[in-house]
């Protein structure tokens, strides 16, 4: 987790305006507040998590990204972050479009379904993968639209979304993703982190 936070933090310039969509209990917000910028907001669907954030003094709104991002004006944030949440939406494409409207830049992180450990589970065990990063069973998972690093990479090119930076994470090992190593990174990384712009 902490490694992901550090990578995200490094992608963000100091004293900018940031929105964390699906901010959970506010851990990333707190991290960024201490390291990068005070001007940070959160959007979270779970009442309990919203209350936790507010208790910490974080500015968070209870709401649903699929319907509530509309209320923010165009380009009203320098960065909008979507950390490991894209797969949980009914309509990820719509959410990405909304994020790109609200944020000048968008940071999306993706638990990689193409990671070899995940692939092996399906291949050899014949069951839906359950990993440290994807801890749910098929019947109780909130993840509706799992994708791989390669899927997201291809999605961006097909939708003409500019990828500024794409980073692969394996344990705490960080590397850049590019067109030539895409297949390898897609196999050998548990998380993909993308800095994109419309």
């Amino acid at each position: 987790m902490k490694e992901e936070f550090r990578i995200i933090s490094n992608l963000i310039e100091e004293n900018t305006r940031v929105l964390d969509v699906g901010c959970g209990n506010g851990d990333l917000m707190k991290f960024l507040q201490e390291n990068k910028t005070k001007d940070i907001r959160g959007l979270e669907i779970s009442k309990k998590k919203v209350q936790n954030c507010l208790s910490k003094g974080l500015t968070v709104i209870e709401g649903n990204a699929e319907s509530d991002l509309k209320q923010f004006p165009k380009s009203s944030f320098d960065y909008v972050i979507l950390s490991q949440t894209l797969q949980a939406f009914l309509n990820p494409e719509l959410v990405i479009n909304e994020l790109l409207k609200v944020g000048k830049k968008v940071i999306v992180t993706i638990p990689n379904f193409g990671y070899w450990r995940v692939r092996l589970q399906l291949l050899f065990k014949g069951t839906m993968p359950v990993t440290e990063n994807l801890p749910h069973e098929w019947y109780n998972t909130p993840n509706l639209h799992m994708c791989t690093i390669k899927d997201f990479y291809n999605f961006c090119s097909s939708k003409n979304i500019k990828i500024f930076k794409s980073i692969a994470l394996k344990k705490s090992r960080i590397s850049e993703i590019n067109k030539s190593n895409l297949n390898y990174k897609n196999l050998d990384s548990h998380l993909g982190i993308f800095l994109i712009e419309s």
């Binding site: 919203v50 209350q51 507010l54 208790s55 910490k56 003094g57 500015t59 968070v60 709104i61 009203s76």
Partner: protein
């Protein structure tokens, strides 16, 4: 009402131009404070009361001898901790607890003003209370907080005085009174005015009190403060001190007895004309109309941090109306947090023991106070 209680009071000599066009001056504002103002004057919180509230937020209310109306929230070691904060609350103008209202005695006639009192608005109430803040020599409040009509005053306060509060917490309120809200208020007013003892508002001249009408108004309103589920769970069809129906119009059911009791204790502490004036002020409240239909413009000038709170079972000021405030603030990039608290206790949730509300509110206020102070250093 209760003229013999010694309330803290100041006389505002500055003329105040009311929305109705009339001007008032040399009028009293009754208030109460809790805790102590620190030397930097950075710990002051102005609390606004709701329709039937008063300045006695915490401790014992000297008039009713009951706990202050927001004892769950304000007091020593409470979410708004008076060991730490200096809490101010004023009786609104139009009220009956010492501030200028229809039961104020007109010095020249020696009689109550009655319905010669001008129509007042939420805007007028807030402007009058601002005079109190000036009198207390507080340059900037740490927070303005209030529920229901108190929340409307919070919104109006920030709109009128964009740089006078660091934090604003409107709770269970609206930026514009809905048709349903106006309808319920009108029902209450008609009950009062239909009472033959109302005498067009000059009942005190005849030593009368339209207590029946006022009690009915309170009973009807009280229902709107609760939720269907809350009522059903608390009362159901339980009978009051009897084993079977009496086949008459006595209070057979506990809910009837409860409402009658609520009505009867209310008339002892509240002035019927104040009820008319204050409900009217609420009905006239439409902040977005004040800004030509754009609610966001009300907050364009402000850097105040907002925290909006609603309750799941509040159907009088539902979450959707509270959310409109959040949307208006978001659309101008204001600093706003929002949560809908789970509660069965209806609109009254903000006054009651709802632990997740009290915890979230307290933690938020305290950590924000810390963050703002740290930032200043």
């Amino acid at each position: 009402m209760n003229k013999n209680i010694d309330t803290k009071k100041i006389i505002i000599s500055n003329p105040l131009k009311l929305d109705c066009g009339k001007e008032i001056n040399n009028f009293p504002i009754a208030y109460e404070t809790y805790g102590e103002l620190n030397s930097e004057k950075s710990n002051a919180i102005l609390v606004f009361h709701a329709l039937t509230g008063d300045q006695y937020v915490s401790g014992k209310n000297p008039i009713t001898n009951k706990d202050g109306w927001w004892s769950y929230v304000v007091g020593e070691n409470k979410p708004i901790d008076t060991n730490k904060f200096f809490v101010i609350c004023a009786n609104v103008i139009g009220g009956c607890m010492g501030s200028y209202g229809p039961s104020t005695i007109n010095e020249s006639t020696g009689k109550q003003i009655g319905t010669d009192f001008p129509i007042i608005t939420i805007n007028d109430m807030v402007n009058a209370q601002y005079e109190l803040i000036k009198y207390l020599e507080i340059e900037k409040l740490f927070a303005v907080v209030g529920g229901s009509m108190g929340g409307m005053q919070v919104l109006q306060f920030v709109a009128n005085f964009p740089d006078k509060a660091k934090l604003a917490i409107p709770i269970a309120c609206t930026s514009s009174h809905s048709a349903q809200n106006i309808a319920f208020n009108e029902l209450g007013r008609q009950a009062i005015m239909a009472d033959s003892k109302w005498e067009n508002g000059f009942y005190s001249n005849y030593k009368l009190n339209p207590d029946k009408g006022l009690a009915v108004a309170r009973m009807a309103a009280h229902i709107t403060y609760l939720s269907e589920k809350g009522l059903q769970e608390k009362f159901g069809r339980k009978l009051q001190d009897r084993d079977s129906l009496r086949y008459g119009f006595e209070a057979d059911f506990q809910i009837e007895s409860y409402l009658r009791y609520q009505g009867s204790v209310f008339v002892d502490r509240f002035d019927a004309n104040s009820y008319l004036y204050i409900t009217r002020a609420m009905d006239y409240f439409d902040l977005s109309k004040q800004y030509k239909g754009n609610l966001s413009d009300a907050f364009k000038e402000t850097k105040t941090k907002f925290f909006v709170i609603s309750f799941t079972s509040d159907w009088l000021y539902p979450t959707s109306e509270n959310r409109e405030i959040v949307i208006a603030l978001n659309s101008i990039g204001a600093d706003v947090g929002f949560v809908e608290i789970e509660s069965d206790k209806g609109h009254d949730s903000f006054l009651l023991d709802v632990p997740s509300f009290l915890k979230t509110l307290g933690d938020y206020i305290n950590s924000t106070y810390k963050v703002i102070n740290e930032r200043r250093i």
